[in-house]
């Protein structure tokens, strides 16, 4: 089977265009060019020069894709649902709920009537009430009562 013609001129043009790595060469010419390198010292020299530029090009590696960009891109995809805890509405609702709870605690502490204040404020009355039956658990002290 006749393969593509590979001579010094074609090899030079190939390397000048695609560089020194055989896997970058056109598929149809790769084998012929690889064989040609074995036979031609000039080809090997050409390859070495091209490799220097390849190595410099390989060094240039831009930054990868940041996570924020990935999220933005995914956020625009059809059917994409942002997780509940990442939605702004979730955070606004949570903040609102937390504020309402905090306000309730404050209002409760400041404005509620002191229902048990008088009894707690007067320890004697509180103790007496345990014996006169007015306390809910006053019976607990009735150990000496007649049968």
């Amino acid at each position: 089977m006749d393969g593509p013609v590979m001579d010094q001129d074609r090899f030079d043009r190939l390397v000048e265009a695609y560089g020194a790595a055989p896997w970058r060469w056109p598929e149809g010419e790769r084998d012929a060019a690889t064989r040609f390198v074995q036979e031609s010292p000039a080809a090997a020299e050409k390859l070495a020069r091209a490799r220097m530029l390849d190595e410099a090009l390989d060094v240039w590696t831009p930054a990868g894709a940041p996570g924020a960009l990935r999220e933005r891109v995914l956020g625009s995809a059809p059917g994409w649902r942002v997780p509940v805890f990442r939605r702004p509405r979730f955070w606004w609702a949570s903040a609102g709920l937390a504020s309402a709870c905090a306000l309730g605690v404050v209002v409760g502490a400041v404005a509620a009537p002191p229902l048990t204040a008088s009894r707690e404020a007067d320890p004697v009355s509180a103790l007496a009430s345990q014996f006169d039956g007015s306390a809910p658990f006053g019976g607990a002290f009735d150990v000496g009562a007649a049968p």
């Binding site: 265009a17 831009p62 894709a65 994409w80």
Partner: protein, 185 residues
């Protein structure tokens, strides 16, 4: 343009079109880094590159439900959209030369690299920025994106011979620019 062989991304795109989030996530994981690199190397600016990558995906999402199988490879189509968006931005830059020059490589990213590697990377970035847009595109597609010469030529709508000519001129210019840079240091 018809493409030979099955498209490895087609199933994924069809699932994206059906609104499957897992498919969208897989497609983004597979394509976003590649497209961002292409735009970054074409434009030399991270912010603009991110805008381009995002726009490519917006258009992909719009295409997904009506994608016609067997007509074009998704990867080629996305590359073509990205390349055209880059050309548009480069054209606008030419028309508006007061715009800020492209930023240099993020020093935070390069901090871990050795000093010589970092300098070489910066030198390559600067040399690439001096190439005409089509030569730059040829190098980016064939060398960095690792497309075959046939795919890259089809994408740029040129013959294989014209593609080889663009590549040769680009590599020659890069070699000269890098040699100049080395002499100046």
């Amino acid at each position: 343009m018809k493409h030979p062989g099955p498209d490895p991304d087609e199933d994924l795109l069809i699932r994206v079109g059906r609104g499957e989030p897992a498919a969208a996530r897989a497609l983004v994981a597979r394509k976003l880094p590649r497209l961002l690199s292409l735009a970054r190397r074409m434009l030399g600016d991270q912010g603009e590159a991110e805008d381009v990558a995002q726009e490519v995906f917006l258009r992909t999402w719009r295409q997904a439900p009506t994608w016609r199988t067997g007509e074009a490879k998704l990867d080629s189509w996305m590359h073509r959209v990205a390349l055209n968006l880059c050309y548009d931005r480069l054209r606008r830059r030419r028309e508006n030369p007061t715009a800020e020059p492209p930023e240099q490589e993020d020093p935070g990213v390069a901090a871990d690299l050795g000093l010589i590697r970092r300098q070489t990377g910066d030198a390559v970035a600067s040399a690439m920025a001096t190439l005409p847009a089509r030569q730059r595109a040829a190098i980016v597609l064939c060398y960095y994106q690792e497309l075959s010469n046939i795919e890259a030529a089809a994408l740029m709508e040129v013959s294989i011979e014209a593609m080889e000519s663009l590549l040769s001129r680009a590599r020659r210019a890069l070699r000269l620019a890098l040699a100049d840079e080395a002499v100046q240091e």
